[in-house]
């Protein structure tokens, strides 16, 4: 659905130039939910605005929904929906009127029914909510209205720029469900940006990590975490008689030659292992320890988070760089 090569955008202003996006290659397949994860100022919105025809790239090319971005922007516009990071409603116009206008602009058949359906799905059907101007809505309600506006015409491809920012956990969960349903039932392709690690993890089939205008890693959340960081296995030892430290050292020697183990450290009477593909290697780790006569008290496996992935590829934590930029 999206095929971009070397997409770049430089802003030239009075205060110098900003290379917001520096050569992004990406492909998104039909029916995928792809997440664009990165800290503030990484270039997520800029990339989205280029892909939605709002911003002319300074370099590169892209086809979006089968149309060339440069030669057929109208064709692209007919096939996509877009929800901007800051929304796009007139604060003084009633929500229902905004939805009607949007439906009319896209030539939606039976707009009233479509609006009713969307309002129900996105929980905008509460007491006279649609009669209210967006200035008189809560932040979360306004955000859901923005999403509804982007979906009115059932586009085969939607771009959502931080769709869940400002939503409470429950609404967030509902919106995730709605996005999954869009994909499962209508085959909609979804390209969204987010700061939230858990959102990228739970919602996206594939994640592109962007930092300082470049894509630094991509893959499914599980793949990314496996590829970059490995799983962390903590082995607590039962030192029946012998001192724990000694047992730990024996355990480490026993695993030294194991092909899945990348790193092993002894930590307060426990052994901390970084292993490839923990799910599969766990059994053979236990077997090797057993053969060496090491007694186990407990075994824990923790998956790395996407933050660990970001840390590995950029040397910075996503949390830190996000709060530093904020």
């Amino acid at each position: 659905m999206i095929e971009a090569r070397g997409l770049a955008r430089t802003f030239t202003g009075r205060r110098g130039t900003v290379e917001a996006v520096r050569g992004v290659d990406l492909s998104v397949a039909l029916g995928e939910i792809v997440g664009f994860l990165g800290p503030n100022g990484a270039g997520k919105s800029t990339t989205l605005r280029m892909l939605t025809t709002l911003l002319a790239p300074t370099a590169g090319s892209a086809t979006v929904a089968g149309r060339d971005l440069r030669t057929d922007p109208g064709g692209v516009r007919r096939r996509i929906g877009y929800v901007a990071q800051g929304g796009g409603t007139d604060p003084s116009v009633p929500a229902g009127e905004e939805l009607e206008l949007q439906a009319r602009l896209y030539g939606v058949a039976d707009p009233a029914a479509r609006i009713r359906e969307l309002a129900r799905r996105l929980e905008l059907d509460g007491e006279g909510l649609l009669a209210r101007p967006s200035a008189a809505m809560s932040g979360g309600q306004r955000r859901r209205l923005d999403v509804a506006l982007g979906l009115v015409h059932r586009p085969p491809l939607v771009f959502l720029d931080e769709p869940t920012t400002g939503l409470d956990p429950q609404s967030r969960g509902h919106l995730w469900e709605h996005i999954r349903r869009l994909r499962d039932r209508d085959g909609t392709t979804v390209f969204l940006t987010t700061h939230y690690l858990d959102e990228a993890d739970a919602l996206c089939d594939r994640v592109l990590i962007i930092d300082r205008g470049r894509i630094v890693a991509e893959g499914s959340p599980a793949e990314l975490k496996r590829r970059v960081a490995g799983d962390v296995v903590t082995v607590e030892l039962a030192g029946s008689g012998a001192p724990l430290e000694q047992v730990a050292l024996r355990a480490r020697t026993a695993l030294a030659g194991h092909s899945a183990v990348r790193e092993a450290t002894v930590l307060e009477g426990a052994l901390r292992l970084t292993v490839d593909d923990g799910d599969r290697s766990l059994m053979s780790l236990i077997r090797a320890l057993d053969e060496a006569g090491v007694e186990l008290a407990a075994l824990r496996m923790a998956r790395p988070t996407l933050d660990d992935v970001f840390l590995t590829v950029t040397g910075r934590s996503l949390r830190d760089s996000a709060s530093a930029a904020a």
């Binding site: 025809t53 709002l54 911003l55 996509i80 800051g86 796009g88 007139d90 602009l105």
Partner: protein, 235 residues
């Protein structure tokens, strides 16, 4: 909608000119030689053009608000043609201006304006087309400046000399040679003169022809510029 309030507020200034300044002018009517003895015929077209200049000039403020709220971006991702995005706004502004102009004309008739009906209709067409051009140009300026703080001073520095040079209050034919020459470079002058000719029922005069030509060029150029800007608008 807010436009009802807008119609009334937009009218107060030209109405004040009409009521508080018009009678003064009809006293000195003999001096200005507006022809036909009815000074209202010369004065009212000027006030109508002034209404178009200021009323339509200010529409850019609305666009700046929409740029800020993201409404413009939302509309720009829709498949609607860029020309339609511009005309949607501009025609709405023009309609509002025509309503105001009709109200103003009614007030003029009450005060003593006498002109042939077809002349008044032709004058209205001139004013409507002028408003359409000015609204487009106002949007172009608004998109270039993007903030009220820059748009407002720019707007007033542009509109005031344009108003004075187009001979809205007194015909430019009364001006000394140099001023008359300068004013020939402002397109609105021709529109004012054409509207005056129309009010006199003078359909075959050269003022009428010049005015029609200038208006057509103005409309085409400003709409093309506005559409271009909506297409290009990129930051």
């Amino acid at each position: 909608m807010r436009s009802k309030v807008g119609v009334v507020f937009g009218l107060t200034q030209p109405l004040l000119y009409l009521v508080l300044f018009g009678p003064l002018l009809s006293r000195v009517g003999g001096v200005q030689g507006a022809g036909g003895g009815n000074t209202w015929r010369a004065f009212v077209p000027g006030i109508l053009v002034q209404l178009a200049l200021f009323g339509a000039g200010f529409v850019g403020f609305g666009l700046i608000a929409d740029l800020r709220s993201g409404v413009v971006e939302r509309l720009r991702v829709t498949p609607v043609s860029r020309l339609a995005l511009l005309l949607g706004r501009v025609l709405c502004d023009t309609l509002m201006l025509v309503v105001q102009a009709v109200l103003l004309l009614a007030a003029g008739v009450l005060l003593g304006l006498r002109a042939p009906l077809w002349g008044i209709v032709a004058g209205l067409v001139f004013v409507a087309l002028l408003a359409l051009s000015i609204a487009s140009l106002s949007y172009v300026l608004a998109m270039m400046t993007r903030v009220e703080d820059a748009f407002a001073p720019l707007l007033s520095t542009v509109t005031l000399p344009l108003m004075l040079l187009s001979g809205i209050i007194l015909p430019m034919s009364m001006a000394p040679g140099w001023l008359d020459a300068v004013s020939r470079f402002t397109p609105f002058r021709y529109v004012v003169d054409a509207a005056r000719a129309a009010f006199r029922g003078d359909f075959s005069s050269s003022a009428m022809l010049e005015g029609a030509a200038v208006t057509v060029v103005l409309v085409v150029a400003s709409v093309a510029l506005g559409t271009h800007r909506f297409r290009k608008e990129n930051t």
